[in-house]
């Protein structure tokens, strides 16, 4: 993937205020967010519930308007409509006309998206096969389970062979087999050179699928970058598990190598910088320890995610304290 590729999605300083009820007071839900999505990547937009993920996605889809800032997809302002023939969208918990059958709804979306009549039937059947709904294609959607609706939602997002696909919580409501199918489908899209933008709070999906991520917490972007940068964030560390060490020897290791004691008992666990693993092992063996295991430690996305939430909480607390004083 070319890191210098032209952004497919560009979000510039987007602010969104809502006015709850009839009151004049505004509630700001997006605080000048900015990020780019590059061609051919799977981009994870990650955040806890209420962080502003769906609001951002609705702005990109033209369903709500930003209070200020600009957003573009494929170089077009999100307020335009014609370019959307190259865009697919799966909303969170999608709803469809339940009086239509699976086949009818896909044909309806294909017509709206301008799929040529000659290709429509084959495209609809291909998509039904991709999402595993060929057998249920003649049944009305009101008889579909939540997982089947999610899959028909994915099919409608892809029926016109878009260049870029936006998925809001695509694994929602799916059983393990369904999740695997959707994951495979997303990887297949990347294989075909499509760009995928995925809203999610399921970090394991991000770790498995995404090339780059942005973390949003309370309407602010806390990180944007490659997923592997997250995973390798900070100095590499390792976890060493030892047994048969006296408390004095443990204290000496902690002090001498800036090791962090993580587990105490018959076995102790020390987290140390990867570069001092060998000296620590030598010192521990010299002190009579048995080495049980040595495991490289990778900071998980979850750790970074929780740390961002924590930082935001501290920032809010600081702001509240300043207001009080």
């Amino acid at each position: 993937m070319n890191s210098a590729a032209v952004p497919i999605v560009r979000v510039e300083n987007i602010v969104k205020d809502f006015r709850p009820g009839l009151g004049l007071r505004r509630r700001r839900v997006l605080h000048g967010i900015r990020f780019n999505v590059r061609e051919g990547e799977i981009f994870g937009f990650v955040g806890p519930n209420g962080a502003g993920k769906t609001t951002t996605l609705k702005i990109l889809m033209g369903l709500i308007r930003a209070t200020s800032g600009a957003a573009s997809i494929l170089g077009h302002d999100v307020g335009e409509t014609a370019y959307r023939r190259h865009v697919g969208f799966l909303p969170e918990n999608p709803y469809f006309y339940d009086f239509l059958t699976g086949r009818e709804i896909l044909a309806f979306y294909a017509r709206l998206s301008g799929v040529p009549r000659a290709q429509m039937r084959s495209r609809v059947e291909t998509l039904l096969e991709w999402v595993g709904l060929t057998e249920a294609a003649g049944a009305r959607l009101r008889t579909y389970s939540k997982g089947m609706l999610q899959r028909i939602g994915i099919a409608q997002a892809l029926v016109h062979d878009p260049q870029v696909v936006f998925l809001d919580e695509p694994m929602s409501g799916l059983d393990p087999i369904g999740r695997k199918q959707v994951r495979d489908l997303i990887l297949r899209l990347r294989g075909e050179g499509k760009t995928v933008f995925m809203n999610t709070h399921i970090l394991s999906d991000v770790e498995m699928l995404c090339d780059r991520v942005a973390i949003i917490v309370r309407g602010r972007i806390h990180f944007e970058g490659a997923a592997h940068e997250f995973l390798a964030g900070g100095e590499p560390e390792a976890d060493i598990v030892l047994s048969g060490l006296s408390p004095d020897a443990v204290a000496a290791l902690e002090e001498g190598f800036q090791a962090r004691l993580r587990g105490v008992g018959e076995r102790i666990e020390l987290r140390v910088a990867e570069k001092v693993v060998n000296p620590v092992l030598r010192a521990a063996i010299a002190a009579g320890a048995d080495v049980v295991s040595v495991t490289p430690h990778r900071m998980s996305l979850e750790t970074i995610f929780l740390s961002a939430v924590e930082k935001d909480r501290a920032r809010m607390q600081g702001a509240a304290d300043r207001r009080r004083s």
């Binding site: 889809m61 023939r85 709803y95 709206l112 997002a157």
Partner: protein
Amino acid sequence: MIARILTIAWNTGREAVRSKLLYTLLFFALVLIFASLVLAGISYIERDRILQDIGLAAIRFFAIAISIFVGVGLIHKEVDRRTVYTILSKPLSRGEFLIGKYVGLVATLWLQAGIMVAAFAAVSLLQGAPLGIGHASAFALLAVELAVVVAIATLFSAFTTPLLATLFAGGVWIVGNLTRDLRDLGADSDVDLVRQLTALLYGVLPDLSSFNLSLEAVHELPITASDVWLPVLYGAAYVTLTLLCAVSIFERRDFK
């Protein structure tokens, strides 16, 4: 653009055809039209007029009721059920969506009104009651009135709940049948403000009585060409302006 509007319209029609509510209302309308045979049968005088009065009133009442009840949910239901999310993510403007929904509903209502008119014609022929150009004119203007009422219901549906939209649209229909009387009353007033106010109301609210030729049709009163084409032009202009307002409101909405 036309293809996209027709796709939405076709789907709206398909939804209506698969809806139980419309069949129920249509069933009651047909029952009332055929019941007019019985009611006319127990009268000794003017059986034809009684039959056609009841028949035309039933068609008008049920057609308008269906227009309002279905029209008020036309847009609101799409937003409430969030079906609008996936549709508006396609290369389709909000205006095209709203016009498509409107066209689909009007076409469906015209089809249903056509079924009621066919039942009315069958009953009239069975009774030997006259059918002429007056009846054709009355049905043509009923079709225009339905288009106007659906446009008004669509306008309210674009920004408020079905309950409020029903009250507003129903209110406009009732007042719309009285605006001509209101204007005439105001014109006779000595107070300038009353004259101006009633003239303003007449300009803003629809003059729905201009679409009602039932009396002329049943009593075989003379109907001139301008009695038909002037209301048709007026109806077309009113529908256009009302839909422009509806689109303008719908374009500004946030779908939270």
